[in-house]
Symmetry: C2
DNA sequence: TCCCTCGTCCAAAACGTTTTGTATGCGTTG
DNA sequence: CAACGCATACAAAACGTTTTGGACGAGGGA
């Protein structure tokens, strides 16, 4: 068991190895009669024959292996989604994903890429755990797709969330509820997500005819503590906001805490919207946090399908080099009509 | 580039393929003179030669690939830790991990195992996202290790958290702070973790000479809402607990909410301990939640090292079949001396 | 001087497939 | 009836390594 090879099948079926190969192959059916084909298949099944992908990979110059190198799967709860999306897309088309994590150690990442290449992966996905620019190791001789990242030259296909659109989705929810004074707790780090979401914040205001007020936007650490600090700052304003849009759900968590301490009810006295759809937080909070989900699963999927298109030569040249994915709103209970707007 | 094989190196170095192989190998150094060895290595490096692992795998009957099949990497924030531990242990010893997720679809899992086997993985780790019994597909002809799981017959090496010890660690913290009436919000599901932690809860009480009171333990959904429900129930008791030990951090989150609503300060009026060390929750809460960390990373590591020991035949027979891993306490700010105990 | 041993190198087989090129025999066609 | 085409089967080469079993000389011991 386990050690049965194609020649064992050939022997048992009393045909040549060639015939077995053809009989088992979908493509070469023409080269073998239906009867022998059936016969061979039966024998193969009864012996429990299972082809050795190493050997066929060697012969075909195709391993049916994909490499996925990410910078920190452990620390982000969304990594699983990305990886799952990637894995699903690969498995559906007959590929397997080999995963490595560099832990943001770029020298190690380069070594890992070499190792993956030694294993003859047919393609590589380079993933980052939040939207950022990535340095691509040189000398990669297989197709590469960037996941939640992009390269300086724009040389590689890449998929990232549409940050500005995500912010607009969040803001739309607030503006349509009647809010005019909307605070924004941004991420203080200078990353694409911070820029993109600020842009979405501003364009939403502009579109709604609301003047931008710099006092309403504050830049904080991307953590619960940042949310607390931001909320304190915004709510201490002489003319405080009736709603707060947070860079992400963890900050929103902090806003909830501050609101509770100040005796402000959510959503009655203060509406809140986050970004991430960080289930445990968004769903655990009371009331549930309305938020915009980042499409991690879809990004993983897109990256691998794109990669396989490239590998199989079916890549559509119409495809944009950088794909922006939509971020859907998840409504829970943290948005209501502002007090001042009456009811 | 990329397409340079061992024969290219041989040609360029003006030696035979055999010599190149020996020169590059660590083991066969004796079969080539130091000079040629150096020469060959230089030439190989200058050509950028990188051995084809598929080919050597075919020849050696060793792929240096490990399969990791898990039931749901996407939904658990701890999956990343496990995977990372597994991956690190593998990489350090020259192996790569191929990851597949079955999404709790056991038929799919079986197919995935077959696929992994076709790729000639040298070993398999079957992982579950929470401690449970696992069904092992038949006909696997490579070593298998179970991760956060065990099989009915105890036929495979397996690593799981020491649930009872984890509970005792949490309880010790509470008891040493002076608490005598300690509530326990358990998981209502009948899983090993629930049994183990209950056992730890009871044995801790016994050891401290505290009588067990059935009214103080309640079984709830393993979610924030379950924590809320449990806290309501326990705090409504005529003689309410001064501390609550929760099955996990998400429930503790619910306890915080209920405490706040009832005007109970944590830890002044109520001490709380969880299990999981779910960073975003435990660290985001105010005050920070004292909790017991589950050793996901270490379990991943242990599983793979054990697997490699088995593969390389270096397995120590002294090793227990089922390894219980310790769970360290993470102290934050949710435990204090009870009011009644004075100061 | 002869025989061995040792150091250094290489040819060839093997790992398990896939695919090309060819052989065989039968039925069909002119 | 000769010639040809087609359906079916197979042998052998190839993919890129590793390793076994020599070959070949040089040096040492008897």
């Amino acid at each position: 068991m386990g050690k049965v090879g194609i020649r064992d099948v050939a022997k048992a079926a009393e045909v040549s190895v060639t015939t077995v190969s053809h009989a088992l192959s979908e493509a070469h059916q023409a080269r073998v009669s239906p009867e022998t084909r059936e016969h061979v298949r039966k024998v193969a099944a009864s012996l429990g024959y299972s082809p050795n992908r190493l050997a066929s990979g060697l012969r075909n110059q195709r391993s049916y292996l994909l490499g996925l190198v990410s910078d920190e799967i452990a620390s982000s709860p969304f990594a699983g989604e990305m990886i799952l999306g990637a894995q699903d897309a690969a498995y559906e088309r007959g590929w397997l994903v080999m995963l490595v994590d560099s832990g943001r150690n770029w020298a190690l990442e380069e070594k890992q890429v070499r190792t993956l290449l030694q294993h003859q992966v047919d393609g590589l996905v380079l993933a980052r755990m939040y939207h950022q620019r990535a340095e691509i190791p040189a000398g990669i001789n297989v197709p590469v797709v960037l996941l939640d990242a992009f390269d300086a030259e724009g040389a590689f296909p890449s998929v990232v969330p549409d940050e500005a659109a995500a912010a607009r989705t969040a803001m739309k929810e607030l503006i349509e509820a009647g809010h005019r004074r909307i605070g924004f707790i941004n991420n203080r780090d200078e990353i694409p997500a911070a820029f993109g979401r600020l842009e979405g914040y501003r364009s939403s205001l502009a579109e709604a005819g609301i003047e931008y007020d710099g006092a309403l936007v504050t830049r904080q650490r991307p953590a619960v503590s940042g949310g607390r600090a931001g909320a304190e700052e915004l709510l201490a304003l002489p003319d405080p906001p009736t709603a707060i849009f947070c860079f992400h759900d963890q900050q929103a968590f902090g806003v909830y805490e501050v609101a509770a301490r100040r005796g402000l009810g959510i959503p009655g006295d203060l509406s809140v919207v986050g970004i991430d759809n960080f289930e445990i937080v968004a769903d655990g909070l009371w009331p549930g946090l309305t938020t915009v989900a980042l499409p991690h699963y879809d990004m993983g999927r897109w990256a691998v399908s794109r990669l396989l298109d490239e590998i199989e030569g079916t890549a559509d040249d119409g495809e944009p080099r950088q794909k922006l994915l939509d971020c859907p709103l998840v409504r829970r209970g943290s948005v209501a009509r502002p007090r001042s707007a009456g009811m």
